[in-house]
């Protein structure tokens, strides 16, 4: 490497040592070396040394100094590839990948064949998924160093990632032929062979893949992968008979792998349900302890055969007392016939167990030994879960209470009771039961987390945090620790709780935190670009890259993003007043009753505000502490972590551009969660508010392609038509846009008017689907505000007994909040009373006063209990202090004497 500003031999040697030290992460040594060079007055301003000093400082976490020295060095020597390279590395460690790429390119301008720079560039390109650029760089590296392993692998991989399997395979084939000596048990070589095989399979060259596998079988150390792949290939190539023994041996190896059984069936070409079940029976005998051969036939069998296998399976589970038995068979409930059989069977068990202690009358007649006493409890639990699933709250409670009476200490029972209340719409009662369950085993993290989740469902964020604190690291606030640990279910539930409470900023903060976790996970792949290539774990590496590509498809992201988008939309519809201005209401002109209401409201608000400000102050203190501890931690452990802006709820909820922020969350969903209709419905809501007709159309079309009969889609179409109409009146469209719109609307609804469309929709769903009818009623009101009463009547007249709780809640909240049909307090109140009868447990339909009284009663009880406890403690401590005094006497006597 010729330098633009060469050092004499002595300093040159020092400089090379400095580079070496950096590579070996001996930063302190490196600094000393840099100092030695710079202390020579002739080279005090040597650019490359200054730059390396900066980079070394960065390694020690002294970021600001690092930037200072690197920039200084660069300025001294702008024609040095070393300085540019170093600047690029620094930017890279700061996650500024675009900038880093620019620096590398500058460096390559001065030294176009520098291996290290090219390698670093390729890492950034793959991280940014510039696949074409990656290929170019990899090719360059390959031509420079064809003798290195890594050159070949990276070169092949670049083609593989572009989908050019042929070329990727060619490269690997040539490479493996030029390799002469292969040691036995060479893991890397083995992985490489499997990687090549994967490429062959992905390019659908199945026969070639099979031949390849057979040829190299002896050299591959991952025997399991060989067997699995080979068996799969035999099936796909129509040589099933050869696959049978392979899957037989795989099942022997692991009789709990569902996939093996499926492939075994495919290999044996058994297709009828009866035949499959009898094959499973054989396996049951062969592997009596395995669960799979017992559970899987339940999915396949029908009719009497199902009754038979289900009977065996359920009895076994209830006899042994397997707690998740119901969860294990829950998927069968999707088939009504199977649900009925399961219900009949378990009811029969319950009846007979109560009477004689047997599962059935036949057993009793045959005088087989009695079932264990616990079987009755587990059966009752199962029935409770079953009826809960069917949303038959009363019967579910009946069975769970019977079970709790029988065994009050079984935690599962309490959890189930809580869950029944949750499903019945009473999150508060639900959490009370979970808390009880939690208190019975405080060392169980599962129940601890469940309890926290139920508390969040009851909007009790602080309590939930407290519960979680039992398991988070000491000395840090639980909330911060859960964030650090990327505990996303907790954060998402928090966000949803805040959303329900109308604390928009807090909700957004949690959503952004989840989003940041995903960003971090994507960042984290960086190190694997070098590591996986080196260790040759290429199959896993490609798997990782593909996972990261679609990372935000994950349900955790979807949930948080949906919450964020909804909150931002709500903030757009009803922006918050700025923090300083407080609404002035004209008190003079209010009637006394209103005034009273207002006063009490104000009082409550004041109280709440005081509480909140106290909490905020506390939070501030905590934040400062945390910041301090984080800074300390940063200095020690992670100098790489980029400094992100702090998320401040008050600022988040007062953004100037809520819709743009919503789009930030929406984009990944549109890209990666296309298959979920909610994505496009959310997109419509955003674009509707941005008044972008073509984009509304896009969302409608995408949603329609997924499910043309989705209820919300109807409302989207009606609102789109309305927006189209009013936009036309405002100003004529651009001709091109007009053309597209005309064609698309014709496709969408033909020549019908929105009114016609809506009327047809009402007629179609009048008595069958409340959700559709609700959207139709919205349309009715939207198109003609004078039809408000008709619209409300349409939905409130719908047969309530056909409604599910979620549906009734949706209708009621729409009426109550007045967003959808304008103000309709009276109708809402009436509807609430009707719902109260139908859903007696649901909290939302009960009266606030009643609930508050109940809550106060509970709190009072709690206080009393605490007081009693304190008194007891007091007594205890009196006793102990008395004994201390008693025991202390000799000492004082001794002291006196």
């Amino acid at each position: 490497m010729p330098s633009s500003d060469p050092l004499p031999p002595k300093e040159g040697a020092l400089f090379r040592k400095l580079l070496k030290c950096y590579e070996m992460k001996q930063y302190k040594n490196g600094l000393k070396l840099a100092k030695q060079i710079l202390s020579n007055p002739k080279y005090a301003e040597h650019g490359e040394t200054l730059a390396m000093k900066g980079l070394t400082l960065n390694g020690l976490g002294r970021r600001e100094e690092a930037y200072k020295y690197v920039r200084l060095g660069l300025r001294r020597d702008l024609r040095s590839h070393v300085c540019w390279h170093v600047y690029g590395l620094l930017q890279r460690s700061d996650k500024k990948y675009d900038e880093a790429i620019k620096c590398y390119r500058n460096a390559l301008k001065w030294e176009k064949d520098n291996l290290q720079i090219l390698k670093d560039l390729s890492l950034l390109q793959i991280q940014m998924r510039d696949r074409e650029g990656y290929k170019e760089t990899r090719h360059h590296l390959f031509t420079l160093r064809p003798s290195q392993h890594a050159s070949w692998i990276g070169f092949a991989m670049s083609y593989h990632l572009l989908g050019d399997y042929e070329m990727a395979n060619n490269i690997l084939e040539t490479f493996s032929q030029s390799q002469t000596t292969i040691e036995a048990h060479d893991y890397r070589h083995s992985e490489l062979l499997l990687y090549q095989n994967q490429i062959l399979i992905e390019s659908s060259h199945l026969q070639q893949a099979l031949d390849h596998l057979l040829k190299y079988e002896a050299q591959i150390v991952d025997k399991l992968a060989v067997r699995e792949t080979m068996g799969d290939l035999y099936i796909k190539l129509g040589q099933q008979e050869k696959a049978v023994p392979i899957f037989e041996s795989l099942i022997r190896r692991n009789p709990e792998n569902v996939l093996y059984y499926q492939q075994y069936m495919a290999a044996r070409r058994v297709t009828t349900s009866g035949a499959i079940v009898s094959v499973y029976r054989e396996f049951q005998e062969q592997y009596p302890r395995a669960l799979c051969p017992r559970r899987l036939p339940l999915d396949i069998a029908v009719g009497d055969e199902f009754r038979e296998v289900a009977d065996e399976y359920l009895r076994r589970g209830l006899r042994k007392g397997i707690p998740p038995l119901f969860v294990n068979v829950r998927t069968l409930h999707q088939v009504p016939e199977k649900t009925a059989i399961i219900e009949a069977l378990t009811l029969q068990y319950f009846e007979n167990l109560t009477r004689s202690g047997h599962f059935s009358r036949e057993d009793a007649d045959a005088e087989v030994p009695l079932e264990p006493a616990s079987a009755l409890v587990w059966t009752a639990l199962f029935l409770a879960q079953h009826y809960d699933y069917m949303r038959d709250t009363d019967r579910a409670l009946e069975y769970i209470n019977a079970a709790i009476d029988h065994t009050p200490t079984l935690i599962e029972l309490l959890i189930t009771k809580g869950r029944i209340f949750k499903h019945a719409g009473d999150p508060v009662e639900a959490y009370v039961w979970l808390e009880e369950a939690q208190s019975m085993d405080t060392a169980d993290r599962y129940i601890n987390s469940k309890c926290a989740k139920y508390m969040l469902r009851a909007n009790m964020v602080l309590e939930a945090e407290e519960i979680c604190a039992k398991f988070t690291r000491e000395g840090v606030s639980a909330m911060d620790n859960l964030n650090e640990m990327q505990c996303m279910w907790f954060q998402t539930e928090c966000a949803l709780a805040y959303e329900r409470m109308g604390r928009w900023g807090e909700a957004l903060k949690k959503c952004h935190e989840v989003d940041r976790h995903f960003a971090e996970i994507i960042e984290d792949q960086f190190d694997f670009h070098t590591y996986c290539m080196r260790k040759m774990t290429l199959r896993a590496y490609v798997g990782l890259l593909r996972l990261e590509d679609v990372l935000r498809r994950h349900p955790f992201y979807f949930k948080a993003a949906k919450c964020a988008i909804e909150v931002y939309i709500r903030l757009y519809d009803k922006p918050l007043a700025s923090e300083t201005t407080i609404e002035e209401i004209d008190i003079e002109n209010l009637p006394p009753s209103e005034l009273k209401k207002l006063r009490s409201k104000q009082r409550k608000a004041k109280k709440k505000a005081e509480l909140e400000s106290a909490q905020a102050a506390q939070a501030q203190v905590k934040r400062e502490q945390h910041q301090k501890s984080k800074q300390q931690a940063n200095q020690e452990t992670d100098p790489d972590a980029p400094q992100l802006d702090e998320l401040i709820p008050e600022k988040l909820e007062r953004t100037d551009e809520p819709l743009e922020k919503a789009i930030d969350f929406l984009k990944p969903l549109q890209e990666l969660a296309k298959e979920r209709i909610e994505t496009h419905l959310l997109a419509f809501e955003v674009y509707y508010r941005k008044n972008k007709l073509l984009l509304m159309l896009q969302s409608i079309r995408r949603a329609r392609a997924l499910d043309a009969s989705h209820p919300v889609l109807h409302s989207c179409i009606i609102r789109f038509m309305k927006a189209l109409e009013s936009a036309k009146q405002e100003q004529p469209f651009n001709v091109h846009v007009q053309q597209v719109l005309d064609k698309a609307t014709k496709e969408l609804i033909g020549k019908k008017t929105p009114q016609q469309l809506n009327d047809e929709f009402i007629a179609k769903y009048h008595t069958t689907s409340i959700l559709h009818l609700y959207e139709a009623a919205r349309g009715l009101y939207e198109l003609d505000a004078s039809k408000k009463q008709a619209a409300i009547k349409l939905i409130t007249d719908f047969n309530l007994s056909k409604l599910r709780l979620e549906e009734a809640t949706k209708i009621y909240t729409a009426l109550r909040d007045g967003d959808v049909f304008g103000d309709c307090e009276k109708e809402a109140e009436q509807y609430k009373l009707k719902c109260q009868e139908r859903f007696q447990y649901a909290r939302i339909f009960r009266n606030i006063e009643e609930l508050e009284a109940q809550l106060q009663e509970k709190e009072a009880a709690k206080l009393r209990a605490e007081e009693e406890q304190q008194q007891l403690n007091h007594l205890d401590s009196n006793e102990t202090s008395a004994s201390v005094v008693g025991g202390g006497e000799p000492a004082s006597v001794a002291a006196a004497s």
Binding site: R16, E23, K28, P146, S147, Q148, H736, V737, V740
Partner: protein, 129 residues
């Protein structure tokens, strides 16, 4: 590149330091074992490693062959791009697409070129995918 015998004065100091470093690392590791068992392993992920070399006689022909292949690909791509660049596009059309569909300029221009400059077709292409 490991140098064993450089200038004497440096060597003494460096070795002392190296020991310091390793001692410090020991301490660090001890601290870490309590909470983060895997942290030390993770740290090693970013370690520096020497490259392995292969010696093969017939790779030069392969290099040439792959080089030719790449040149072919590149010329194909360049030709495709040239073809696209030939398409006449209006600036106002690009802006219309950007504004109506909230897409980047690059994407708007690309789609417009692919649709041979037909703005209606371009708009439809974007909303119906």
């Amino acid at each position: 590149m490991a140098e064993t015998e450089p200038e004497v004065e440096v060597n003494g100091e460096a070795e002392g330091e190296a020991e310091d470093d390793s001692q410090e690392q020991d301490k660090k590791q001890k601290k870490q074992t309590r909470h983060d068992g895997g942290a030390a392993d993770l740290e090693r992920v970013t370690d520096y490693a020497e490259e392995k070399e292969i010696s093969a006689a017939n790779i030069s022909s392969a290099v040439e062959q792959f080089g030719n292949q790449r040149d072919k690909e590149n010329s194909l791509r360049v030709a495709r791009e040239k073809e696209l660049q030939k398409v006449q596009v209006k600036k106002e059309d690009i802006e219309l697409i950007m504004n109506e569909l909230l897409v980047s300029k690059t994407l708007a221009e690309k789609v417009l070129r692919e649709q041979s400059g037909d703005v209606v077709a371009a708009l439809e292409a974007i909303i119906s995918n």
